[in-house]
């Protein structure tokens, strides 16, 4: 069965999740079409990471639906969502410190369904490390990497899942200006290869240059949606980030 070309790859509607009395994500709608980069913005604590955790299966939604590649994935265990082709990186970078770089990437390759052959895995490890610029680090323990190299390695591991959709949680945060340019180029090249990306980001330059569309959240709700220049000029968005001006 082929779904109609216009159906979004990821379609989230009415997504809600509360922690006790705090509604972290409140009836949020969001969609990512194939080949698009969508930015998920909002001030700290607005529910962006919780939304990613709901989509990737770390948390179960209280209500609302999440459809990915034609399947309802809301509440599905994370390992099954990953196997459907949804990969992610984490806000606080998570590499497997006790393993080499090659093994970190292998972790993303070894559990495909159906399983890859040993030869395919070896080839892919090399290709992916080269892809993120770590070709000469294959045997190095991940614990010995610099911060940007950890981020690269985490990205290689996510790409190893052969994802249709990649969730990047502040993947560019903490990089210095020259590293940032490298990072932005890397994400752009992934898009050029046809990957769809949902990224949570605070770096405005990256959002302007990468995103096709943006969704802005505040206090768990979606407050704006549209092209980056549109939403960043939206008074509600400016208010959410900077507060109401005193002479208003």
């Amino acid at each position: 069965m082929t779904s109609p070309a216009i159906a979004p790859l990821l379609e989230v509607s009415g997504l809600t999740r509360a922690f006790g009395g705090l509604i972290a994500v409140n009836t949020v709608d969001l969609s990512v079409h194939s080949g698009q980069i969508v930015g998920l913005l909002g001030p700290n604590g607005s529910g962006k990471t919780t939304a990613l955790n709901l989509i990737s299966g770390v948390l179960r939604p209280d209500s609302g639906s999440i459809r990915f590649a034609g399947q309802a994935i809301g509440g599905m265990p994370a390992h099954r969502i990953a196997r459907l082709g949804l990969a992610r990186t984490f806000q606080l970078v998570r590499v497997l410190d006790g393993m080499s770089c090659a093994e970190n990437v292998r972790a993303g390759l070894a559990f495909h369904r159906p399983p890859l052959s040993r030869g395919e895995i070896d080839q892919s490890v090399e290709r992916l490390l080269r892809r993120v610029g770590l070709a000469d680090r294959a045997g190095v323990p991940a614990s010995g990497l610099t911060y940007i190299d950890c981020k690269r390695l985490e990205l290689a591991r996510a790409l190893a899942l052969k994802p249709l959709l990649l969730l990047l949680d502040e993947w560019l945060a903490g990089l210095n200006p020259s590293e940032l340019l490298i990072g932005i180029e890397l994400i752009r090249s992934l898009k050029d290869e046809g990957l769809s990306i949902l990224l949570v980001e605070h770096v405005m330059d990256a959002i302007r240059s990468l995103c096709d569309r943006c969704v802005v959240m505040n206090s768990g709700r979606r407050i704006a949606e549209g092209r980056p220049d549109q939403v960043l000029a939206d008074p509600a968005v400016i208010e959410a980030y900077l507060g109401v001006s005193s002479d208003a």
Partner: protein, 315 residues
């Protein structure tokens, strides 16, 4: 296969032949000591199979051990011996799967307490059954198994537990477990069914422990719940595995051998205070060797590996 591998295989084979011939030369005391050594080697290694990679501390050892022993006490006289062992295997695996599915989602600390409670629960159930149904607390184990048979079976089980551990480490399950040990959330996002992997490993580990209980049962001619479900075994196994280092396959055995000898000596020499001394030993091990003997060995071999490289760079 390199020359080193061949030499190691020949060495292991020769060692095995010597061990297998031991009952011909050893007197009853040394045979009984050898049985204790093998028993704790299998128990600690099987414990480490599960607890090493997952870092869950299980105190359920005595629950599985006791279930194995009781399987023999109940069925030993009516069924053929291999069939009894097979049934013990099935019961151990089934119990582990049920316990695993219901508890392995718990955090580490809750799991420790649950497994300790499990051993007590099973013991109380057996006591209840014996008192209310059979009306006799103890059972006699009359099976045609000699001390030599026990020794040989334990030796075979030792080989099996190492072979299985070696195979797991080289399998996809082994790789999955290493990732789970590093970071469970990452493991899930790599497509690993974390719960399934843990339950499988818990069951494999439990089967070996159950079989040890079954094989050891004929050593006592009389068993009752307090003998078969002795909680001290659970703690001893944890101490041994921690002394050796549970993150390597051969680590727990390194701890099991000296501590079995020590416990043997203590219970003979200081029968009244041996538990107290074991407790002190436990504390000393955890403080002095948090990563076990294996951890110390790894630190030294890393330093040794670094030194020649540095020398080459200088040259």
């Amino acid at each position: 296969m390199s020359l080193g591998h061949i030499a190691a295989a020949i060495g292991a084979g020769a060692g095995l032949v010597v061990l297998a011939l031991l009952p011909r030369y050893a007197d009853a005391y040394y045979l009984s000591l050898a049985i204790s050594l093998l028993q704790f080697t299998v128990l600690a290694t099987a414990w480490g199979l599960f607890s090493g990679p997952t870092r869950y501390v299980s105190l359920a050892t005595t629950a599985f051990f006791g279930v194995g022993a009781y399987t023999v006490a109940v069925l030993g006289e009516v069924l053929a011996w291999p069939l009894v062992l097979l049934i013990a295997t099935a019961i151990g695996a089934l119990m582990a799967v049920i316990v695993g599915i219901s508890t392995l989602r718990l955090s580490g600390l809750h799991f420790v307490i649950f497994t300790f409670g499990l051993a007590e629960l099973v013991r109380q159930l057996v006591i209840w059954y014996e008192v209310n149904k059979t009306r006799v607390l103890g059972r006699y184990v009359f099976v045609d198994i000699t001390q030599n048979d026990i020794y040989w079976q334990l030796l075979a089980l030792t080989v099996a537990v190492f072979a299985i551990g070696w195979l797991i480490a080289r399998s996809r399950l082994g790789f999955a477990l290493r990732i789970i040990g590093e970071d469970e959330t990452v493991a899930r996002h790599c497509g690993i069914n974390v719960t399934l992997a843990k339950v499988m490993l818990f069951a494999i580990s439990a089967v070996f422990i159950t079989l040890v209980g079954a094989i050891m049962a004929p050593r006592w001619t009389y068993i009752e719940p307090s003998i078969a479900f002795n909680p001290t075994i659970s703690f001893q196994v944890v101490i041994m595995a921690l002394l050796g280092g549970a993150h390597r396959l051969w680590g727990p055995a390194v701890g099991a051998i000296p501590l079995t000898l020590l416990f043997e000596f203590l219970s003979a020499r200081f029968p009244a205070t041996s538990t107290l001394i074991i407790g002190v030993v436990f504390l000393l091990i955890v403080y002095a060797l948090p990563a076990g003997v294996v951890g110390v060995w790894e630190r030294f071999s890393r330093q040794r590996a670094k030194a020649p490289v540095a020398a080459q760079v200088q040259a």
